[in-house]
């Protein structure tokens, strides 16, 4: 795939994408603002949420061991995966052991991160995505463009056309209700007929071994309870000590994501079906995935592991709002993606992401767990600079400028010369085109610099 700039240009050239992103992100921004206003002392709640996460991230080992013991006591089986490939291999082996021909998958960003859809396909296992937006993405053969609304880049009209082309018995009326029914008819039988249900986890609760998922469609419940086997794939940073902590995080998550007090469906799965239970899976497997997380923690990105995947940072990001999620090129888009992607995919291939940010700080302001996203992005910029990944022109340009700026007399001479040169170009007070400054003057005019710098004028006044 092309680089970030090309993807961003393509996104900017797509007027429908802009409308679609603005509809969802704009609505979310407005609803979040109302929800936060009504929340008693949201600031204190953010501080507490960040503290809960910092505590478990600092004591990850003991909490994970506690979770493992509790989950096993509840009848689940726990597996550990260091890498994405290991995680996929474990899931595929479990599916094969269960004799699975088809799996029902409930939306999980970790699943996307480890490449599980692709791994299932390679293994010849039919996958049905049960989240409505993931279903749309699957039909369109695309990747999610947002962590809460994977299909936010598509308009209703585009989804309607897709359903008509791909559903066995598509909607006749052009209404949202009819479209939802079309998806329901398509998905319901497949969900109930799946041999294995696969989900992610919003939270792992250490003291009870419970796995918590939230959905707005109830699709997790329907796709995880009927199959004989339930497999959870979860990042190890999803751990919280106990139920009260999970409840606090849930309050932060829903409001930050959609402005709702709680997500429609919140379910805690603790072990498989017990004797006497009417329903539930016979086996429950939990795959705990590291995939670079302990490395992130140990190498200066511990704060990023606070992330509860609410998407508020991207919804409020001026850059994301212009280019949407696909331009970021990784599993996770927006500010949180720009921090995570270099850790997951390597900095050399993804260094643009840290620069594609105006450092305006809005993402940090809305983050429910106070992740200092601009600081972490600047950390990647520094690493990129140290490792020599920044373009030569940038290194030389900044080097030259810094050479002068650390020598005030030379700097004043340099600015005086530059001012005179630039002033020759502009006939009025504005410069419409300046060589070497095309990035600026392509889209906006540049005011002409002053005839003499402040320092020159001030010194002359002092001498009078």
């Amino acid at each position: 795939m092309s680089g970030f700039t090309e993807r961003a240009d393509a996104a900017l050239a797509d007027p429908i994408l802009k409308i679609a992103v603005e509809r969802t992100a704009g609505t979310s921004e407005a609803k979040r603002a109302i929800a936060i206003d009504a929340f008693p002392d949201f600031e204190a709640a953010r501080t507490r949420a960040a503290a809960i996460k910092d505590h478990v991230i600092a004591h990850l080992g003991p909490y994970l061991e506690q979770f493992e013991a509790s989950a096993i006591a509840a009848g689940a089986q726990v597996h550990w995966a260091q890498t994405a490939d290991e995680a996929c291999a474990i899931v595929i082996a479990l599916c094969k052991a269960a004799g699975a021909k088809s799996v029902a998958r409930s939306k999980s960003m970790l699943g996307e991160e480890i490449g599980l859809p692709h791994a299932l396909e390679e293994a010849g296992i039919v996958r049905v995505e049960t989240d409505l937006a993931e279903h749309i993405i699957q039909l369109a053969d695309e990747r999610p463009s947002h962590i809460i609304w994977p299909a936010m880049h598509k308009t209703r009209e585009q989804v309607s056309a897709l359903f008509r082309a791909k559903h066995a018995n598509p909607h006749k009326e052009e209404t949202i209700a009819a479209m939802a029914q079309s998806a329901r008819r398509e998905l319901r039988a497949k969900m109930l007929g799946a041999d294995v249900g696969i989900s992610g986890a919003n939270f792992l609760i250490a003291d009870t071994g419970a796995v918590c998922t939230v959905t707005n469609e109830g699709n997790a419940e329907l796709s995880l309870v009927p199959p004989r086997v339930h497999i959870v794939t979860a990042g190890i940073e999803k751990i919280v000590p106990s139920m009260p902590h999970a409840i606090h995080m849930l309050r932060m998550l829903a409001r930050s994501a959609t402005g709702a007090a709680l997500t429609q469906y919140t379910t805690f799965y603790t072990g498989p079906k017990r004797p006497g239970d009417r329903d539930g899976p016979e086996e429950m497997h939990i795959v705990l995935v590291d995939n670079g997380r302990t490395k992130m923690r140990d190498e200066g990105l511990a704060e990023m592991l606070r992330c509860i995947r609410c998407g508020a940072c991207m919804n409020h990001c001026v850059v994301f709002r212009q280019i949407g999620g696909h331009a970021y090129g990784g599993t996770y888009p927006g500010p949180m993606g720009a921090v995570l992607t270099p850790a997951l995919d390597g900095l050399a291939a993804t260094r643009d992401l840290a620069h594609a940010c105006t450092l305006n700080g809005k993402c940090q302001e809305v983050c429910p767990v106070k992740i200092p996203l601009p600081t972490l992005l600047k950390g990647w910029r520094e690493k990129s600079w140290r490792e020599g990944l920044e373009p030569t022109s940038m290194r030389w340009g900044l080097g030259l400028w810094a050479f002068a700026a650390t020598r005030p007399a030379l700097y004043r001479l340099g600015t005086a010369i530059a001012i005179r040169a630039i002033r020759l170009i502009g006939r009025t007070g504005w410069i419409a085109s300046l060589p070497f400054a095309g990035g600026w003057t392509k889209h906006r005019d540049l005011p002409k610099p002053a005839a003499r710098s402040f320092m020159a004028q001030y010194q002359q006044e002092q001498r009078k």
Binding site: A8, D9, L12, H355, T358, K362, W430, G439, R444, P447
Partner: protein
């Protein structure tokens, strides 16, 4: 109250619009301050800091600290540069026991000019009048790093005849972002395009803000779009210099 304050003029003001520096001196003197302009200053180092070039950022921070530390207070006509000194200098020297206390000392006495006039001096412009309608953009660094929001509005309110038109999305970034606007011109243009449209729909005659970078970005876009809205640093109006040439107008 007489305070000896050092003016840190910022590299952009120095070269592009010196009258912001003179307006700052004028307002500070009206508020009873004695202003000096330390000659050892150039740039606070923010371009290097934000580009990941830590070594040059440290070199410039050391130069700036040395130039500014003898003074009682340091006043800056930019939320972004004041924010760099206040919030980021101490981070830069986190592991340097020699420089950290010096960085902290300078950070603590560095202020954005409008915050300084309003909060420290408790001053308001007197006898300044300008019959116009203005709208105000809250530049990101000043807003989020230093909490600058009410101070400029309180000062502007004291100007006779000036009415303020609210700007939709006043706290939304204009797409300048230092080097961002030249690294990603197309994205920056899309962002500032929306900002310019919001400014135009206020019906204001004047666009005000507290940071020259953002002002050049917004004013440059407005001018390219053929808008007649004129842009000033808010301190120019507060100092009674709102009747002079706006950004991009010949003196």
């Amino acid at each position: 109250m007489t305070q000896n304050v050092a003016l840190f003029v910022t590299c952009l003001v120095d070269v592009m619009r010196p009258r912001i520096g003179f307006a700052t001196i004028r307002a500070l003197e009206a508020a009873g301050c004695t202003v000096v302009v330390p000659q050892g200053q150039t740039c606070c180092g923010q371009p290097a800091l934000n580009s990941g070039d830590r070594d040059h950022a440290i070199a410039l921070a050391k130069q700036t600290i040395t130039a500014l530390e003898p003074y009682e207070a340091i006043v800056v006509p930019s939320g972004s540069c004041a924010g760099t000194i206040r919030c980021h200098y101490p981070e830069l020297f986190e592991h340097d026991p020699d420089w950290l206390p010096r960085a902290q000392a300078v950070a603590e006495k560095t202020f954005e000019v409008m915050a300084y006039l309003d909060e420290v001096c408790g001053w308001k412009p007197e006898g300044v009048s300008l019959p116009a309608t203005a709208t105000y953009h809250d530049s990101c660094s000043g807003l989020r790093e230093l909490g600058i929001k009410a101070q400029p509005r309180r000062l502007l309110k004291a100007i006779d005849g000036l009415s303020m038109a609210p700007l939709a999305g006043a706290e939304t970034c204009c797409g300048f972002g230092g080097t961002f606007c030249v690294k990603y011109p197309a994205i920056s243009n899309a962002i500032v395009g929306e900002k310019a449209a919001a400014i135009q729909s206020t019906g204001a005659d004047l666009l005000l803000a507290g940071d020259l970078g953002c002002l050049m970005n917004m004013a440059g876009k407005l001018h390219r779009d053929g808008s007649k809205i004129r842009a000033f640093h808010a301190i120019e109006l507060i100092a009674g210099m709102g009747d002079g040439p706006a950004i991009g107008e010949e003196a």
